[in-house]
């Protein structure tokens, strides 16, 4: 009985540890498969050429696999999304947690959660049928399928991430800090921007990083609204022109490539780059969270 209980406890703990370690295993497997399939490309094409190549012509003869247009396309769309989502998101988070009366906040929160729930194809579909024609008309463009359309849609999609994580961070700033400021004769706004928001800054930064991660990794929506033209976007004109992102390239072209072909491996190489980028963003977000974690009330 004695030994029994103890060995049972030990067995349970070991199993649980093994299951948890699965997360690490999966991550390693992902890296292995991506890098292995991707690396096959570099038997023929130097890695640097791939990275700095200005052209993506996978079907021309001979094919040209230059990542740069796709990478810049992704960055442009993402940057646009961040420019839209960050101010709107943080402002909304502040509004919900600090200004709205409790019952209004209780209505606003599920509304924001709806944004998070809408599947990306639906966003893409909406962008395709509603946003794009209007953009084209409004800005008098040859096509509405532009980086701008992608940025707008991704911006909207990144909003719930940014809002809910920021809102969490802001409302977890203890009331007694806010009261301390108000009791000194500070206005609510002074309290918000001098005490509450700085105290929540780590959480807000993490929210921005994660929102950015979501935008970079998003596939279906950008695929449906950005026009998918693999050209290096100019600036600022490129904003109003079609672009092709890394994710869209993978999703679009994978269906048509023969397995084991150079093109196939090139798509995996894109996947690997994407994976590394999001990995870095996540690590930075974690570090930010850790570094600025403030200790209130010991």
């Amino acid at each position: 009985m004695l030994i029994n209980t103890r060995s049972k406890e030990f067995a349970i703990e070991s199993i649980l540890l093994a299951v948890s370690a699965l997360a690490v295993v999966i991550l390693i497997l992902i890296s292995i498969f991506l890098f292995r399939e991707g690396a096959a490309l570099f038997k023929d094409i130097p890695f640097l050429d791939f990275l700095t190549g200005k052209n993506w012509h996978p079907t021309s003869v001979p094919p040209v696999f230059g990542l740069l247009p796709l990478l810049l396309g992704t960055l442009l769309v993402t940057a646009g999304a961040i420019v839209i989502a960050v101010p709107l998101g943080i402002a909304s988070a502040v509004f919900i947690s600090e200004i709205a009366p409790p019952n209004v906040a209780e209505i606003l929160k599920p509304i924001v959660e709806i944004l998070a729930g809408v599947p990306s194809v639906v966003y893409g579909f909406f962008g395709l049928v509603v946003l794009i024609p209007r953009l084209q008309q409004l800005l008098d463009l040859p096509t509405g399928q532009t980086a701008l359309a992608g940025s707008i849609m991704l911006g909207i999609m990144a909003l719930p991430t940014i809002i809910s994580i920021s809102e969490d961070a802001i409302s977890s700033v203890p009331d007694f800090l806010k009261e301390g400021s108000l009791a000194l004769g500070a206005t609510r706004w002074q309290t918000i921007y001098r005490v509450t928001v700085p105290a929540a800054l780590s959480g807000i930064s993490a929210a921005v990083m994660l929102g950015m991660g979501r935008a970079i990794g998003e596939t279906m929506t950008v695929m449906m609204v950005t026009g998918n033209a693999a050209v290096i976007p100019g600036f600022p004109g490129g904003i109003f022109a079609p672009v092709k992102t890394m994710t869209a390239t993978i999703a679009l072209e994978m269906g048509e490539v023969p397995q084991g072909s150079e093109h196939y491996h090139a798509l995996f190489a894109i996947g690997a780059v994407l994976f590394v980028i999001t990995l870095l963003i996540n690590l930075i977000a974690e570090a930010v969270k850790r570094k600025y974690r403030f200790k209130v009330g010991s």
Partner: protein, 284 residues
């Protein structure tokens, strides 16, 4: 510049505008999908397969495919996710190993779904030889939602006050008994909520299944787990971007979008209701 009071008024006005824009987005998207989609929906639309090169008929196989994906992926992700969460929250000590596991989980959470798709393609479809199939797609989606489930379960367990665990242990109760009798019952509503939310995620994901087994057109139900399948989100994508007659099938597209949206939001709504119900009941 401005007096504190005036600055406050201006700032609050800006914040109000921001939230109105956000709410505007939501309402616009919903209203477009609902008003345009509601007309397309009928019983036939829901229980019939697509006809006439997908320009007519219903979406039944896609609904069934999505349901299969949900069942398949949850059957894998749920037990693994909950067990991992139990370990991380109840057993793990601060340390290198746990830190590595935690980092792995948050990186998995941040990995783009299309990358999961690539992995599923390379690992399940090719390497393990499942082919493009429900099995491969379900496993891939299971990986996508695994971190979501782990995080939600961990969070739910973290709300159980540590005093209760200590109290139980101090009564001469083993750790596993304490987890089962005290922690899990209290954390259950939170864990259920997390699971339901990930169901929504599975229903809406497109990129991973695109690479691992979703069929462009398959007007019958899949025979086995190694069959290809249709799924709502991919079906919508196909209709909207590469269908035979994109312009005339708009109503079908709207209808499909609405059904998909209703499934996802409906599931989320249930989760929110459960959460709300238990939040009111729990208090320490």
């Amino acid at each position: 510049m401005f007096s504190p009071k005036v600055s406050e008024k201006i700032a609050f006005a800006f914040l109000t505008v921001a939230i109105l824009i956000v709410v505007g987005f939501v309402l616009t998207i919903l209203s477009y999908i609902v008003t345009n989609g509601i007309g397309a929906i009928s019983i036939d639309f829901l229980i019939q397969g697509p006809k006439n090169r997908m320009t007519e008929g219903g979406i039944f196989p896609a609904i069934v495919g999505t349901v299969f994906l949900i069942i398949g992926s949850m059957a894998v992700a749920l037990p693994f996710g909950i067990l991992a969460a139990i370990y991380l929250n109840e057993y793990a000590e601060e340390g290198r190993i746990v830190w590595i596991i935690q980092m792995a989980i948050s990186n998995l959470a941040g990995t783009p779904s299309v990358v999961f798709g690539l992995f599923g393609l390379a690992m399940f479809v090719k390497y393990m030889g499942f082919g493009a199939s429900i099995l491969a797609a379900s496993l891939t989606l299971a990986l996508v939602v695994l971190p979501v489930i782990i995080r939600a379960s961990e969070e739910a367990m973290a709300t159980v006050p540590s005093g209760l665990r200590e109290a139980s242990l101090a009564l001469g109760v083993t750790r596993w008994q304490t987890v089962r009798k005290i922690v899990l019952p209290i954390a259950l509503p939170g864990m259920v909520t997390g699971a339901i939310l990930s169901v929504g995620r599975v229903a809406g994901e497109t990129a991973p299944i695109l690479l691992t087994g979703a069929a462009y057109f398959l007007p019958r139900l899949p025979d086995s787990v190694s069959d290809q399948f249709m799924a709502l989100p991919y079906h919508l994508f196909v209709l909207a971007t590469s269908g035979t007659n994109i312009a005339t099938t708009r109503p079908i597209q709207y209808g499909t979008a609405l059904v998909l949206l209703m499934i996802v939001l409906g599931v989320n709504f249930v989760a929110v209701m459960i959460r709300r119900h238990y939040k009111n009941k729990m208090r320490w």
